[in-house]
Symmetry: C2
Subunit: 231 residues, 2 copies
Amino acid sequence: MLDYWLGKKVYVEFERDDGYRSSSGIHSYFAPPSKWPRMEQEAMRLVRGRILDIGCGPGRHALYFQKKGLDVVGVDASATQVALARIRGVAQVYQASVQRLPRGLGTFNTALMMGNNLGLAGDIPRMRRFLRDLREITRKGARLIGHSRIPGTWSEDHLPYVKWNLRRGRPPGLLTLRARYKGRVGDWFDLLLISPEELARIGQETGWELVRVIWEGGYSPGDYVGVLARR
Amino acid sequence: MLDYWLGKKVYVEFERDDGYRSSSGIHSYFAPPSKWPRMEQEAMRLVRGRILDIGCGPGRHALYFQKKGLDVVGVDASATQVALARIRGVAQVYQASVQRLPRGLGTFNTALMMGNNLGLAGDIPRMRRFLRDLREITRKGARLIGHSRIPGTWSEDHLPYVKWNLRRGRPPGLLTLRARYKGRVGDWFDLLLISPEELARIGQETGWELVRVIWEGGYSPGDYVGVLARR
């Protein structure tokens, strides 16, 4: 990402544990609000109060709300992302993962998990733990606004993987991925794709109510932003 | 439906067990192919061989394929629908429900469950039983082509019902409905709305492979046709 920011044309490749690879440009991580997906533009109108941007990356949402005068804290598990967000002007940004949310920063009115971050916890038990942890640093009525995708069903390429997951006894939307960039290979990590009804179910169990689903549609029919309210 | 066919303007009302009511025109049950939803037009191109049209209603698909010279058998649980399909010209149509599929009619290459019929079995255990039963009267490679909907998530009206289901320990997409028409009230029945990944899961368990998902999009972002192939 630093390469991109330094002016290079950058593609990162993600490898799935079945060997499938997809390459994607980094530009979307830096896109201005006018280029954000429609669902994202709509969802961002629901943001209010103190914001925790979870998996903030280079800080595209954090910078947007900071410019609007809101109090926003970014966290990212990657030290590189944290450094990049800081260089780009995010005033409050810390290294932290969804497994261990930062304490001592007060409470928040909005938690953001855009860019397919909603399933960053990696699997359903950890997703439950994450939602319970998030209750501790949010107030009643606070919102979690996050982007996910219906597992596999938006593309025929991905359907065999969903079926392989089911045969292996894994949740249909559990992706095991690693990044490849300039010959370097990252560690394997899990990303959970979660359907809205599964999100409603996990929310029900952990004190969060799914109050809204905003679909992207068009070329991304399985992509949506779920809005959960803390009970 | 007979009223509509006799030239009257007809609306039927469906009442859900939470009191929610929706009224819908009957015209779609009689629509010509050019007015069918896009996903349906696309899915109908996958039909081949002997066809079993399950929950055929007044026979809009059965008539279409019959005119194309295909061998098509319609079944419907309602005697009125069977009579109507017969009057409209469906040559082979019988009263039968998904709980008890007809025997002695040979085997089929395609089973159709359009018009949100995919979840007619009513719940997940009965859906599993239905898929196993359907194996008995289909050949290897046969396709089940059916329409369902992602539970609740296409509309804010329906989201509270999904959450109520979860609180009651029911599947998120289980609808309990009854029809109301001209002061008459039908019996309560269950209709299951099923997401594609849940369909993939149930298929995996019962010898059917989800090979394709065709989304409607637009005003019906949660509607899709699932295509299952018999293993």
